[in-house]
């Protein structure tokens, strides 16, 4: 062949570049984005024999090579839902245990779950409060059933949302600092270092005030008990007050925080670096630094049980640890509580311990109780004896802290629910043995309660046999339903029982037991109790029980946070916004008109304006106020009011009387009901006289005259008309603009948007709200206080409520009563302002 001599040389680079370009452009043409819209859409390039009608909604009908382009084009044009999103994994896949755990952990990021959450979620309405998901009330309405259970049988509540702190350090230092700064002696006659509490045998409560602010600056109630060897103090704090108390304690003891991770994030965030290795070894020598609790089967909470957040003062060696989630706490009510506990809890006996030790070859390797009780067998004997002799709640000294080690409660769960109340009754009232000295001995000998010791507690949590394993063992039993015998492997649970005496002897007996258990053991013990037909209560019961017992100053529950604390103020604000939003959702004709009703505080009680009204010159601006908690003062006040002794406590004023509120309990005499926001007023002489004339009836005609709403009504009407006119004007303008704008260009409607009407709407809404100061002044009877919580009280079969009165107001009322004898029963008026104009008579009691 003849060589073509036109090409003399071949520039390889140039050639290659050109060819690459050609190839690229060719392949681009052919590839996904290659077909321009003008050439037709992807589905039009399908060969005849593959064309299908269904492609519009089912892109899989296209050949694979065109599916991508088709998808792209459809998205571009309309972004429609032809494109099926990634398929949600099947229910089965979602419920696989590992996926489930991840899902639960994800849901807990914002609000923490209690260990018993899943049990509650199936049966309760659950609230988000204080960073926790807390069961509020059962889905089956059971106010009366709950009350019946708590007063005659047995009821319980999971209160594990309470935070626990451990304050380690020198006993004298801690107790003196706390007593001087936070627990003033007027309010807390017994300090932390008193004989009663310092041995750790009893649990105490003190009212926590901010350092140096007494009588103002109330924070909340703190429960505490010392460790037996006085090396550390355990504080139980309500979650709403936790931050405040933490800050105060850190400031007082000059503690600095140590960088510690609180929760392990499921996405495996990088751990924040620990402080220098030397600090680590000082504090937790027994638990290795890289201890990872991932292997522990804990479905719900991936807690870090060791290396909790700490705050340390290196010079004084004071360490504050946040033990949130490490303990669980259950509260039991009812006269059958002791009997139920005896059924549920089998106490570890010395005989069993010996058997276990002999069965177990390598003692040091396993099982915390074998090590711990090896040389402490007397403790177990005492424990068994105490448990056998304990038959009634009234045998135990009040507030006692009882350490117990129990056999695994799962083993003795009956196959069917086995209520304690159905057991064979004993015919005779026995006089029970005095168990006090025996308990004392037990507490002294068990020097170190195992649950309070970090090492044993962590081991106990570690060694818990998982529910799965336990079920497997049970299924392997020869006779199904018989008792499982695990021998050495039967877990032993360290717990504390805290005795809670009745606070009110005449009303609802709210005493009972508190159980403190380690993490991970909540569900086994919970189920064991549920199988004994213990009724489960929710958060709303804390409020109702507090009002049933008639006092919140020295009560067991923290039902309503008091208004002089920050947490109480916050709660009230939350309720205010909720109530207000609901109020304005109703159409105007359905809303109760608070101006006509003469209601000064429709949603939130403004104590400051009430105090201002009650102050001497009615001009003092009240910035902060406080509630009297001094038990001696309250007792004296109560005696003054109940007797007709004219030598009264009102002769000597307490400090800052114009900022002072006193807690009262009102019981309605005769007809009527009260709710939150009811106003307490001083009756006129004529009211009492009229009432006395009608022997047993109560005067129904005692009414507040209807308030004058005329001017506000007119203003609202005017504003409404303005708003309606504006609205239609705006609508027309917008319509015009849209009509004008045919090009398809974006139009700016903002000058005519209906957001402008918000200003008018809020003006109208504010005209619905009453002016509290005006109303207080114009009330026909002098208001001296308000009710925070009121409802039908089952324990006294009357309507009663708890609230606060101003000190000056009480003084005025008492002086009025003392002057003349027209009010021998010492009645006072109360009006449920949010609902009615009628004043009702009530009996007033000082809450002590």
């Amino acid at each position: 062949m003849e060589v073509d001599e036109t090409v003399e040389s071949l520039g390889v680079r140039n050639f290659l570049a050109a060819r690459i370009q050609e190839i690229n452009s060719l392949s681009n043409q052919i590839s996904t984005s290659g077909i321009p819209a003008s050439k037709g859409l992807a589905f039009q390039h399908v060969p005849k024999h593959m064309r299908r009608r269904a492609v519009s909604h089912n892109p899989k009908r296209l050949p694979k090579r065109l599916q991508g382009i088709h998808r792209h084009q459809v998205e571009k044009s309309s972004g429609s839902s032809v494109i099926k999103k990634a398929k949600k994994p099947s229910r089965r896949h979602r419920r696989r245990p590992s996926n489930l755990t991840e899902e639960y952990n994800r849901r807990q990021r914002e609000h923490k779950w209690l260990e018993t959450h899943i049990w509650h979620a199936k049966r309760f309405h659950i609230l988000n409060k204080w960073g926790y998901r807390i069961p509020k009330e059962p889905t089956a309405k059971g106010y009366r059933a709950g009350y019946r259970a708590a007063s005659q049988f047995c009821a319980m509540r999971d209160i594990s949302y309470y935070s626990c702190f451990e304050l380690e350090g020198n006993f004298q230092l801690i107790s003196s600092k706390i007593s001087t700064s936070f627990a003033p002696t007027e309010v807390n006659p017994l300090s932390l270092s008193s004989e009663m509490y310092k041995s750790g045998k009893r649990e105490g409560t003190f009212h926590f005030y901010r350092s140096g602010s007494y009588p103002f600056g109330y924070v909340g109630r703190v429960r505490f008990y010392w460790k037996m060897d006085q090396s550390s103090l355990f504080l139980w704090v309500h979650p709403a007050q936790k931050d405040e108390i933490l800050n105060e304690i850190c400031a007082e003891f000059e503690l600095m925080s140590k960088q510690n991770l609180v929760f392990r994030r499921p996405e495996k965030d990088k751990d924040e670096p620990m402080d220098t290795a030397s600090d680590e070894t000082e504090i937790s020598e027994e638990i290795p630094k890289d201890y990872d609790d991932a292997h522990i089967d804990r479905k719900l909470l991936p807690k870090k049980l060791c290396h909790r957040p700490k705050w340390i003062n290196y010079s004084t060696n004071v360490i504050l640890t946040d033990l949130e989630g490490v303990f669980n706490r259950f509260r039991l009510y009812g006269p059958l509580a002791t009997q139920t506990l005896k059924e549920v809890f089998q106490v570890l006996s010395p005989a069993k311990l010996e058997k276990d030790i002999s069965n177990n070859d390598n003692i040091n390797k396993q099982f915390w109780w074998l090590n711990y009780y090896q040389d402490k067998q007397e403790v177990l004997t005492k424990q068994c004896e105490l448990w056998e002799k304990l038959k009634s709640f009234s045998q135990i000294p009040c507030h006692s802290v009882i350490p117990l080690t129990l056999n695994d409660p799962r083993i003795s769960i009956p196959n069917k629910t086995d209520p304690v109340v159905k057991k064979k009754a004993k015919p005779v009232v026995e006089s029970f043995d005095d168990v006090g000295p025996l308990l004392d001995q037990l507490q002294s000998e068990a020097v170190d309660y195992p649950i309070l010791n970090e090492k044993t507690r962590t081991k106990a949590i570690d060694e818990r046999m998982s529910q799965e394993e336990f079920n497997k063992r049970q299924s392997q039993l020869l006779i199904p339903g018989s008792k499982l015998n695990l021998g050495v492997e039967e877990n032993q649970v360290p717990i504390i029982l805290i005795h809670r005496p009745n606070t009110a002897s005449t009303r609802f007996k709210n005493g009972g037991w508190d159980i403190v258990l380690p993490a991970g053991w909540a569900m086994p013990i919970w189920i064991a109790l549920v199988y004994r037909c213990v009724r489960v209560l929710g958060l709303r019961e804390s409020e109702t029980f507090e009002s049933e017992s008639g006092s919140s100053v020295h009560s067991n529950e923290d039902g309503f946070l008091p208004p002089d604390s920050l947490s109480g103020e916050k709660e009230a604000d939350g309720r205010l916004s909720d109530l207000q939003i609901n109020y304005f959702k109703y159409p105007p004709a359905k809303r109760p008109n608070f101006i006509k009703l003469g209601c000064p505080f429709p949603f939130k009680i403004d104590w400051r304006s009430l105090l201002k009204f009650g102050s001497a010159k009615n001009t003092v601006d009240i910035d902060s106020f406080y509630i009297m908690r001094n038990p001696f003062f309250l007792e004296a006040l109560r005696n003054t009011l109940s007797s007709s002794n004219k030598n009264t406590i009102f002769n000597q004023d307490p400090s800052n009387p114009e900022h002072l509120l006193i807690e009262i309990c009102l019981t309605i005499v005769g007809k009527g009901s009260i709710g939150p926001g009811a106003i307490v007023c001083i009756p006129h002489e004529t009211d009492i006289v009229q009432m006395n004339n009608k022997v047993d009836e109560v005067n129904d005609n005692l009414e507040e005259p209807v308030g004058d709403d005329a001017s506000a009504h007119k203003k609202r009407e005017d504003l409404r008309n303005t708003r309606d006119r504006m609205k239609s004007f705006m609508q027309k303008k917008r319509k015009k603009l849209r009509k004008k704008n045919c090009n398809g260009q974006p139009i700016d409607l903002t000058p005519f948007s209906s957001d402008k009407l918000q200003v008018i709407n809020s003006a109208i809404n504010s005209l619905w709200l009453p002016d509290s100061e005006q109303i207080l002044k114009n009330m026909s009877r002098t208001p001296i206080g308000a009710i925070v919580f009121g409802r039908e009280t089952y324990s006294i079969a009357k309507c009663s409520g708890i609230g606060y009165c101003t000190f000056n107001g009480l003084k005025e009322w008492f002086n009025a009563c003392a002057k003349c004898d027209w009010n021998p029963r010492k009645l006072i008026l109360v009006r449920d302002c949010r609902n009615s104009l009628v004043y009702r008579f009530a009996k007033l009691e000082i809450c002590v």
Partner: protein, 170 residues
């Protein structure tokens, strides 16, 4: 400890006198200033330093669970309500006898309930009375730091009245 002092049955002849006596007792009981919180008020002769301690009474022991025909009489409840409770138990037909228990200041009330039942049922019912003593323990809560907590025990008299039907009802 339970010390049984006397066991006696009220004969019909003695009844009116006894009734008067007991009603008087009740009146006395009403005039007495009621003890602060609690049924059993016997002091047992123990002197408690009121400046050092507050006395917190523990609830008296009740057997748990109770039989339905065990009724604990309280001074504070409505008298009529207590009687109607007993009547309901009889009329339900399940029980031919009920036991009334009263401690301390509620003894007159218990006795009056029994008498009232007898007059209501007009001779078809009779009662037998047991008196005994029960030991109650109270907590002494210290008022200052240096005093340790303690407890006091006191003996309180209590009465157990067995009210039973004398006429068999088919």
């Amino acid at each position: 400890m339970r010390t049984t002092t006397l066991e006696f049955t009220m004969s019909l002849a003695q009844q009116p006198q006894e009734q008067e006596k007991l009603v008087n007792l009740e009146k006395q009981g009403k005039n007495k200033p009621s003890p602060k919180g609690g049924k059993g008020c016997g002091s047992g002769g123990v002197v408690v330093d009121k400046k050092k301690y507050t006395v917190k009474k523990r609830p008296p022991p009740k057997s748990v669970p109770q039989r339905p025909n065990d009724i604990y009489i309280s001074d504070r409840s409505n008298f009529k309500a207590q009687i109607s409770k007993c009547q309901k138990l009889f009329e339900s037909g399940d029980f031919s006898e009920i036991f009334l228990h009263g401690i301390g200041s509620s003894i007159p009330r218990a006795v009056n309930v029994a008498l009232e039942l007898k007059t209501f049922y007009q001779g078809t019912i009779d009662y037998s009375v047991n008196t005994s003593t029960i030991q109650l323990i109270d907590d002494l809560i210290p008022l200052d730091d240096t005093t340790p907590p303690s407890q006091q025990s006191r003996k309180v008299s209590c009465v157990d009245i067995r009210v039973f039907r004398t006429v068999k009802i088919p």
